[in-house]
Symmetry: C2
Subunit: 332 residues, 2 copies
Amino acid sequence: MKSSLKKSLFIKSMLVLLLLVNTVFASDLLPSWNDTAPKQAIIAFVEEATKPDSRNFVPVEERIATFDNDGTLWTEQPLPFQCYFLFDRIKALAPQHPEWISKDPFASVLKGDMNSALAGGMSALTEMIIATQSGITTDEFEKLVTDWITTARHPQTKRLFTEMVFQPMLELLAYLRANGFKTYLVSGGSSDFMRPWVEKVYGIVPEQVIGSSLKTNFELRNGIPVILSMPELNFISAGNGKPVGIQSHVGRRQIASFGNSDNDLPMMQWTAAGSKARFCLYVHHTDAEREWAYDRKSSDPFDKGLDEALAKGWTVVDMKNDWKIIYPFEKK
Amino acid sequence: MKSSLKKSLFIKSMLVLLLLVNTVFASDLLPSWNDTAPKQAIIAFVEEATKPDSRNFVPVEERIATFDNDGTLWTEQPLPFQCYFLFDRIKALAPQHPEWISKDPFASVLKGDMNSALAGGMSALTEMIIATQSGITTDEFEKLVTDWITTARHPQTKRLFTEMVFQPMLELLAYLRANGFKTYLVSGGSSDFMRPWVEKVYGIVPEQVIGSSLKTNFELRNGIPVILSMPELNFISAGNGKPVGIQSHVGRRQIASFGNSDNDLPMMQWTAAGSKARFCLYVHHTDAEREWAYDRKSSDPFDKGLDEALAKGWTVVDMKNDWKIIYPFEKK
C-alpha cells in the first residue's frame, strides 16, 4: 500500500473513532453531577468549543483547561494538605535542628500548635518551605513526597489525603480530556510536591503541573549530575502569579478555568477576556455535612471572586446541591 | 451498543492503527539522512525505547525528547537569528531613544557594526533584550515577532530565516512524534520569540518551548487583563540552565537530547545519567559549502561537548557526510 494512502486511511479512521468517542462520553462521563445548571453549562461549553460548525469552535491544540488544586480538586480543610507534609518534615528534621525548639514558626509546629505556626502568614510558610525543601536533590524530594502521600492521613477523617479528592471533578477532568482538552494543574502548592502523585490521582501528567517553586541548580557530584533546590523562592503560583505562570509555561491562553477562591480570580479574568468559547467555574463550599462550608470569611476567601462570578454569569457549583457525591469512597 | 463495548472496540482499533503507523514511519520518515551511523543509531534507539518486549522499553508518557534550537534545528551563522530581530527592534525604536546614538551597545547597532554591539557579551545582550522586549504586553510582542519572522531575511542568503531550518532534523522531529515522543525546544533564545512560529515550522506546540525570559506581571488596564514583561531577567535557558529549565517545566527527565555546542552539554549529561533507553546526539557543523563549518573555536564552542561525545560514544552527526540535503529548499 502506498504510504500516502495508508496515511489518508489512518486519518479517516481516526475521525470516525473520535465521533464514536464523543457520543460515548457526553452521555455518561459526569455521573456524580446532578442534572442542574452547572452540569448543563459544562456540556454546553464543551459542545460549543468542539463542534466544528460552532461559531466559537476552538481547534484541539488550543483547548487548554486550568485547574486550581486546594479546594477545587481536593479538600483544603482544616489546612491545605501540603501544610501537613511540611509539619511532618519539620518533625523529622528537628533532631538536626536543636535551635528550632525555641524558634518560631518551628517551635509552634513541634508543640503541635499549627495555627500559631501559620500565624506568620506567607513569610512563615516560606521559611518552613526553605528549611524543609532546599538543599535536597529533585530525586530525593520526589521519594520523600511519594512515601508521605501513600501513608499520611487526614487529621480528622483519618483517610489518605488522596482519598479526599472530589469525584465530580475527576469526572470533569476525564470528560474534558476525552474532548481533546489538555488539563493543567495551577496551584499555589509546590510543583515538586504535586508532580509525584497527580498523574495517578488526577490523570494530569507532570509537565502539566504549574506550581510554586524554589530556585534550583544543576551540578555534577562525583561525575553524577543532580538538580539541587536552593534556599531561595523562584516563583509563587498564586493570585496574579497564576496567569503569569500559565503564560510562561503554556504560552497560550487557557479557554477554561476552575477554582474556588479569590486567589483564582486573575486566572478566571485572563480566561474570560479571550475570544471564542470560554468557561469559568467556581466551586462553592456549601456542604458542612459531607465536606466543609466556607466562603467570604475563610483564610483564603471566596469573596471578590464570588461577586465577580455572580456579576459575570460564571458557573458557580453549589457542592451541596449540584454534586451527588463528594468523594470517590462514597460510590456505591 | 454498550459503552464499555464501544470503548473496548475503540482501544482495539487504536492499537491496530498504531501498528500501521509504525510500519509506515520507520521505513520512510528519514529520507534526507544518508544510511550512515547516525541514522542507524536513531532507528536503533527508537526501536529500543518503543518495543514493548525491549529490556529498555520506555512507556509513552516518559518519551520526552529535548532539542536545542540555534545550530541544531536551524542555522546560527553569522549570528544567532534572534540577534537580527533585536537589531531590527533597536532600529525601529531608535527615534524614541535619542540617547542611543552615543550609548553602546545601541550606538554600534545603529552604525551597523554588529560585532562591536555583541562584544559586551551577555550583559550587552541582556541590555538590548530588556530595552526592546520589556514594557510590552505578551499579545503585542507576539504580533511583532510574527510580523518580523514572516518578512525578515538572512543577511547573506537573503532567504526567510524559517527557510534555513535543517530538513533532516524536521524529519527526525516527525519520526520521534510518530513514535509517541513529546518533542521540546530548549533554547537560550527567548521563549516569547520562538512560540509564535515554531508550531508551524517545527510542529512543536508553544507549551513545549523552554527558553529564556523576562519577568512578567499581570494587571488590569481599564478592566482588560494584560500580561506585561518587566525590565528584569527571569531565567536564562543556557548551559546548566537547560536541565534546570527542563526539570522545572517538564518535571521528568528527557530520554533523548539533541544539541550542537558546549551549551548543550549539561542537558546531554542529565539525559545520559537516567535509566532505560537513552540517546544523545550532537550536530557537528562540518559543511562549509552547503552551510558553515565550525566547532572548537567558535563563539559558542563545540569543544568539551565534542570530547565528551567521543569519549562516551554519543552520536555525532557529520553534516557534510550524514545529511543528503541541509535545507528544505534543496528538495527536488
